[in-house]
């Protein structure tokens, strides 16, 4: 199933590399990235093309490596908290949640009910932001600039909500080990409702201009199909898997926070091409809007939002290890945390979906693709380079 149709393409040499003779004039090496307008963030793709088709691709990452996992081994548990959100820029809250949940589990902390609701709210708000960014990026990769501007506008409204809730727009640092920093401000639900309405009205426009656009369909339908057989072997999760018809959603499969009390179904598609993936994300976005409404309606209004923490300067967590997972906008997000009884984490390993999606899967998918579709393919997997490299 991993064999490619290579009848007219370079054959493999004995050492497993492709027999590509660049001087033959048949092949051309072409870089896409890191300084390329079509590539999201800092990564490079080294393409070998034959005519308009890609015959070989290598991704090069490392332009954004900041060494978070190592950094955290020399920081106290509380000092780790403000840096984890820097791992992924467009959807930072998942790092905060997973880290906080892992620490709480190992330290044996019990979190107040209200904090769970607020955490779920923040995660869904972050998901909305991330999907809005994706929709703009997907249209932009096809050269349709207007969608990105519209979604940026409504994303900004959502950032305003974040600002009044957390005091920050990008790196919220709100989900702290032990709870959340504060309760909702007064009148938050009403303003959120206005924002949700505005997002819905813009999404209706996006649906008309992007999803019903003949040229967009021509570019996206049937392009970049992910075989269902690859799902497990490449570790595909999230909307990429759901677009292939597999209802993989950690929110449903292994509910965390208050998801068991919310009423929703995992969104799935079936064609698994770029169009379906975009459509699944659009519908997932609508689902998130609905979830935010449900959360605001069902959540308790008052109560404690923080448990009592020990002195964080000397906070020692007993020996143990755990893996906390959650469903972020790109797939399964997980934190593997090992403690050894000292004041520092022994090992933190972040499982970001971008890593599996944009390196192994992308390198496989891009083969035999048209060179024009490379950027769109990468965007359609919805990966964020800062999350790949950490």
């Amino acid at each position: 199933m991993f064999e490619l149709d290579r009848s007219q393409y370079p054959q493999k040499k004995a050492d497993g590399t492709l027999d590509i003779d660049l001087t033959s004039g048949k092949y051309l090496k072409l870089w896409q990235g890191p300084q390329h307008p079509g590539i999201t963030g800092n990564m490079a793709i080294e393409l070998t093309v034959c005519g308009d088709e890609v015959v070989d691709a290598t991704t090069h990452v490392g332009y954004l490596h900041r060494g978070f996992e190592k950094l955290m081994e020399r920081r106290t548990f509380m000092q780790c908290f403000p840096i984890v959100c820097r791992i992924c820029v467009p959807e930072p809250d998942f790092n905060e949640y997973c880290y906080a949940a892992a620490v709480e589990e190992l330290a044996g902390l019990e979190i107040p009910e209200l904090a769970h609701w607020i955490r779920t709210l923040i995660l869904e708000m972050g998901r909305v932001n991330s999907y809005l960014m994706y929709l703009g990026g997907q249209a932009g990769a096809f050269g349709q600039g207007v969608i990105g501007q519209w979604t940026t506008y409504v994303r900004d409204l959502m950032l305003d909500r974040f600002e009044e809730l957390t005091g920050a727009r990008i790196y919220h640092m709100f989900i702290i080990p032990g709870g959340v920093r504060d309760n909702l401000p007064d009148g938050f639900a009403g303003r959120m409702e206005e924002t949700l309405r505005e997002i819905e009205s813009v999404l209706a426009d996006v649906d008309r201009v992007m999803f019903h656009n003949a040229v967009f369909k021509k570019r996206a339908v049937g392009v970049g199909v992910i075989d269902t057989a690859w799902l497990d072997s490449y570790g595909i999760t999230g909307p990429n898997a759901r677009a292939a018809g597999v209802a993989k959603d950690v929110r449903k499969d292994q509910p965390y926070l208050v998801y068991p009390e919310l009423d929703f179904e995992a969104v799935t598609g079936k064609d698994s091409d770029i169009y379906t993936r975009a459509d699944v994300r659009r519908r997932d976005l609508l689902l998130s809007l609905d979830l935010i409404r449900q959360i605001l309606a069902k959540m308790p209004k008052t109560g404690a939002v923080m448990t009592k923490l020990p002195n964080v300067l000397h906070w020692k967590i007993p020996r143990g290890e755990t893996y906390v997972r959650g469903e972020c906008s790109r797939g399964e997000y997980g934190y593997y945390l090992v403690t050894d009884g000292s004041g520092y984490p022994r090992r933190v390993n972040v499982r970001g979906p971008s890593y599996t999606h944009s390196i192994a899967l992308f390198e496989r998918m891009v083969i035999n693709a048209n060179i024009s579709d490379v950027a769109a393919l990468l965007v359609s997997l919805h990966t964020y380079p800062p999350e790949i490299e950490r």
Binding site: G38, A139, G145, V146, R219
Partner: protein
């Protein structure tokens, strides 16, 4: 007015110089407004696309940003023209000239109003076809001279794309010629006089669409802008160009857009003819009659409408993939024009000319 000038200069200059001087004055009278139109097309594009994208567009330089094109121009003049070390210097610098020369010279045969034309030549349309084909040289040479892979790929793509759509364009023109019976652009417009229903857009609607679509493809505008597709090959053939050398390509592109817009209006929408033609109660009014009557303002209005379409396409369409562009050109537009010409020829042979 020209006679007065001719007499004035004739007093102290030989005759051939007077002729040349008069022509030069006329040329400048066309080129200057054209440059202004081009400059404000860039401004209009940024404003219109800005409004479509829920932002305001340029609004800092001058009233509502109206001086923005000049600010850009001055900025670009003082920018370094980087000539890549491995490029062919001579070709690298000559390419923008080759792009701009034909884009401007094509305006010599455009009739702006009845009799308002610089060179009233009989083979006007052939001349236009020749000049618009020349534009491709600038681009191909630019791509080759840059010695960059993206530029190279883009030059090849643009070459293949432009020649492909030129065929569809040429066939659409043949349809216009059959209906008008003349290669002279002025005569083509005059053949459409009568009323709004005499315009060629009605009997030749398919050719009109083909012509305008090919025009968009010829000027490398969205959704056919694969040559500049920034998410694929960065900026295409002008990736190595900077400063004034880049802005000359830019000028040429917008001059070409105006040219396509003007030609579409001339050949299908009656050029300077007023849509109220024949409604004598409107055209005979004392002052408003000039507005409702024929004149250059109608050509400008119609061309501006097509420019708006250019901008609108760019704002809302994704880019076609390269093979889809070639398929559209060869497998859809060319067969449509062929069938249309056949049907039209048959209609003419049978003496059935609904448009006359």
């Amino acid at each position: 007015m020209m006679e007065i000038l001719a007499n004035f200069f004739g007093a102290f200059l030989p005759e051939w110089m007077v002729t040349l001087l008069i022509i030069l004055i006329k040329v400048v009278a066309i080129v200057l407004p054209l440059i202004l139109l081009v400059a404000y097309a860039t401004y209009a594009e940024r404003k219109i696309i800005g409004f479509m994208q829920v932002r305001v567009g340029p609004n800092r330089v001058g009233f509502k940003g109206l001086l923005q094109p000049f600010a850009d121009m001055f900025k670009l003049i003082f920018k370094e023209i980087v000539i890549p070390a491995r490029s062919n210097r001579f070709l690298f610098l000559i390419a923008p000239l080759l792009a701009m020369g034909p884009a401007f010279a094509a305006w010599a045969v455009i009739p702006f109003s009845d009799g308002m034309v610089l060179a009233d030549v009989n083979a006007g349309l052939l001349f236009l076809l020749a000049l618009t084909s020349l534009g491709v040289y600038g681009v191909i040479i630019a791509g080759w001279a840059s010695n960059s892979k993206y530029a190279q790929l883009s030059a090849l793509r643009i070459g293949a794309q432009m020649v492909s759509y030129e065929i569809a364009m040429g066939f659409a023109l043949v349809g216009v010629l059959m209906a008008s019976g003349s290669l002279n652009l002025g005569d083509i417009v005059r053949a459409q006089s009568g009323s709004i229903f005499s315009w060629f857009v009605w009997p030749l609607f398919g050719l009109f669409l083909v012509y305008f679509i090919s025009g968009v493809a010829e000027t490398n505008r969205a959704p056919f802008d694969v040559a500049e597709g920034e998410s694929e090959i960065v900026a295409g053939f002008h990736v190595e160009y900077s400063g004034m050398a880049f802005s000359i390509f830019f000028l040429a592109e917008y001059a070409n857009m105006w040219l396509i817009a003007a030609l579409t209006s001339l050949m299908f929408l009656g050029g300077w003819l007023s849509p109220f033609q024949g409604l004598t109660f409107l055209t005979d009014m004392p002052v408003l009659g000039r507005v409702f009557g024929d004149g250059i303002h109608w050509l400008l209005l119609k061309a501006s409408f097509f420019m708006l379409l250019f901008f609108w396409f760019r704002a809302t369409f994704p880019r076609y993939r390269y093979d889809q562009i070639m398929r559209l050109g060869w497998k859809i537009l060319i067969p449509i024009t062929l069938v249309w010409i056949f049907a039209e020829g048959l209609a003419i042979a049978l003496g059935w000319k609904p448009w006359l």
